[in-house]
């Protein structure tokens, strides 16, 4: 029998029919939706007079365009209010479960679905959001889609797709202490570039990922799209099964045992061949930071900004007001954001709290700590982390995408730098004229305390 990859096994199990040259009809198990990329898809169905085919396989949340303070009050921005209201109406009219603002399961779509056990190994999962790749951490095929495709899944629970090529990124060895999953993925992207994965679906393999928690694996898979890959996956193992065991919508008892037996068959066969493969040594990875306007423009925190001659590179450094060959150490930073679907899980806030405990936030810094979901927010309080944050001068906000894309009021002012645990440092991503420096939660916490970027490799080790 031919040797298959994890991706092949999940993909092949979802192909409805192989009847035409070109695209295949791929069946989608779970469709996640939110307020920003779904309204036009609902309109499309309405115009065609087509009902939603499988409403029970769709789950909705409000996250992109929601305030992160005073969520109990009416939303001030009229357009945002209308968009959220439209989502509620569309869900109600079509029999779709919605975890609306304030609901105990509300949160960023890529945080709330895994923590509810909606995300499971071997599934196909889509959402009108490019960071849907997050769910690949469970060994699911998960990827972002456009609104036309959201309408296609509404209408047929399927998509027409060409099977992507296969890519494997191996990282073996042991990570240095205080090197976080975010550093691992920023390192990988800095080495292979923003389009190395275009046309591919990625699998992350090796001891580094095997030893990672589910939260860490989600951080890694989340940023697959930043190297162009539609999705990233990690083989399900005991860590995955243990995480899922008690989750609300995960299978239970005998059903779970049966599922686990199946999930254990999913990892890539030993002799399977990938179209492209990269291998890195964990020992080379240190805390990372970005200096430019795409996520591949990253470096180890104490390195110098590289020198390149091309126009796009120079344009990028001009925007950031950085100099090629310069260092970012001691750079004054006035804004810090800990949140987003990349780094807003309980583990990220534990890392931050552990560093912050007993220290005081620098006076020049405005810091936004935004949990990924209601459940994360509650857990932060249960563990008393909120007290650590408050004593250090931080304010914990309410869940949402927040300053990652700045659709709501959480915007970084023009010209200001923000050390951010989010996933994109594009021009204006966090607000018009704002300058984003991507990093993990430890570097973000240290920046908030010091008011500037420090060499965390020296301080913490």
């Amino acid at each position: 029998m031919s040797q298959k990859t994890l991706f092949d096994k999940v993909w092949d199990a979802h192909v409805v029919k192989n009847e035409i040259e070109g695209p295949q009809i791929l069946y989608i198990d779970k469709h996640l939706i939110h307020e920003v990329t779904s309204p036009q898809a609902f309109n499309e169905l309405k115009e065609r007079g087509v009902p939603v085919f499988r409403p029970n396989q769709i789950v909705a949340t409000a996250d992109h365009n929601t305030p992160t303070i005073n969520q109990h009050l009416p939303i001030k921005d009229e357009l945002s209010k209308k968009q959220l209201k439209q989502l509620a109406i569309n869900c109600k009219n079509n029999g779709i479960t919605l975890y609306d603002l304030g609901h105990k399961y509300n949160g960023i779509v890529h945080v709330m679905a895994p923590e509810l056990g909606l995300t499971q190994p071997g599934m196909t999962i889509v959402c009108g959001d490019s960071h849907t790749s997050t769910h690949g951490a469970f060994g699911a095929i998960a990827f972002g889609i456009g609104t036309s495709q959201v309408a296609q899944v509404f209408a047929s629970q399927c998509l027409l797709l060409k099977k992507p090529k296969s890519l494997r990124v191996n990282v073996n060895g042991s990570l240095h202490p205080n090197v976080l999953p975010k550093d691992v993925i920023l390192y990988i992207i800095s080495k292979i570039g923003t389009n190395a994965g275009t046309g591919y679906f990625c699998e992350y393999a090796g001891t580094v990922f095997e030893n990672m928690t589910m939260e860490g694996r989600m951080t890694v898979c989340n940023m697959s799209i930043e190297m162009g890959a539609r999705g990233g996956m990690i083989a399900p193992d005991q860590t995955t099964f243990d995480y899922l065991k008690d989750k609300k919508f995960a299978p239970k008892g005998e059903e779970l045992d049966e599922k686990i037996a199946y999930w254990k068959t999913l990892p890539t066969d030993k002799e399977a061949v990938f179209d492209k493969e990269y291998t890195f040594d964990a020992a080379e990875i240190q805390p990372m930071i970005t200096y430019g306007t795409n996520p591949a423009m990253g470096m180890i925190i104490n390195e110098a900004i590289p020198k390149f001659e091309d126009v796009s590179f120079k344009k990028s450094l001009d925007y950031m007001d950085f100099k090629a060959g310069g260092s970012l150490l001691n750079k004054t930073i006035n804004y810090v954001f800990i949140g987003s679907c990349t780094n807003s899980r309980i583990e990220d806030f534990r890392v931050a709290a552990n560093y912050i405990k007993g220290k005081q936030k620098a006076e020049n810094v405005t810091a936004w700590l935004v949990p990924g979901s209601k459940q994360v927010e509650n857990q932060i309080k249960e563990e008393g982390l909120n007290l650590i944050f408050e004593n250090a001068g931080f304010q914990l906000r309410q869940p949402g995408c927040s300053a990652c894309l700045a659709m709501n009021d959480d915007k970084i002012p023009a010209g200001e730098y923000c050390v951010s645990t989010s996933n994109r440092n594009f021009e204006g991503r966090q607000g018009q004229g704002a300058r984003t420096i991507l990093a993990g939660p430890l570097v973000a916490a240290a920046t908030a305390i010091e008011g500037k970027i420090i060499d965390i490799t020296k301080t913490v080790n």
Partner: protein
């Protein structure tokens, strides 16, 4: 969807790499619940400064450069999956985007909106960019049937790849939903076979 066969037009050269969908349409304009009007805000923060003044440096604001074809640097459309980027480009008047590389999701979104992404070689793109910047009145011809893009008066052209299914969809004005709806019975059978 409108049918697409052949287009002859001048083009706008945008010689920047890694243009992400946040630049094409910034997130603050994604609050609408319909598809209309995004063209007003396409490349908003490159066309205007923070105070709303026109940025004369940006090529879209140079009246010499216009047309239904946008020619852009490598890796166009990376980042967010927002289909609003494709809607904005179409609404602004573009029918074709030429680059040496397209991000996957953007490419799919474009095709689903009758906007043709043409992937050309690095060399051809470089040549094209040089010609267009120097001579903005030069006409490009895009023939979808023959899968050819050419600069007629310069006698240069290149063949481009496109998925056969997608090509037929564009030529006939079909979209994926029509096709998937016709396969509902097969989809139901598939669902039963899995239980």
């Amino acid at each position: 969807m409108e049918k697409f066969t052949k287009i002859t037009s001048t083009a706008v050269p945008l010689d920047i790499e890694n243009i992400d969908t946040d630049q094409i349409i910034p997130a603050r304009f994604l609050k609408a619940t319909d598809k209309q009007g995004f063209g007003n805000n396409v490349f908003r923060d490159w066309r205007y400064d923070n105070l709303g003044n026109v940025n004369p440096e940006f090529i879209f604001n140079n009246p010499s450069y216009k047309g239904k074809i946008l020619v852009a640097g490598n890796n166009f459309g990376c980042g967010s999956s927002r289909e609003h980027a494709a809607w904005a480009l179409v609404d602004y008047g573009f029918k074709v985007i030429v680059s040496s590389y397209f991000a996957d999701i953007f490419k799919g979104n474009s095709l689903n909106n009758g906007l043709l992404p043409i992937q050309v070689s690095e060399t051809f793109l470089k040549k094209l960019m040089e010609i267009l910047i120097a001579e903005p009145t030069v006409q490009l011809e895009v023939d979808l049937e023959k899968q050819h893009i050419s600069v007629i008066e310069k006698n240069i052209s290149e063949f481009f790849e496109i998925d056969t299914f997608k090509k037929n969809c564009l030529i006939n004005g079909y979209d994926d939903i029509d096709f998937l709806l016709s396969k509902r019975e097969a989809i139901k059978e598939f669902e039963l076979s899995r239980n």
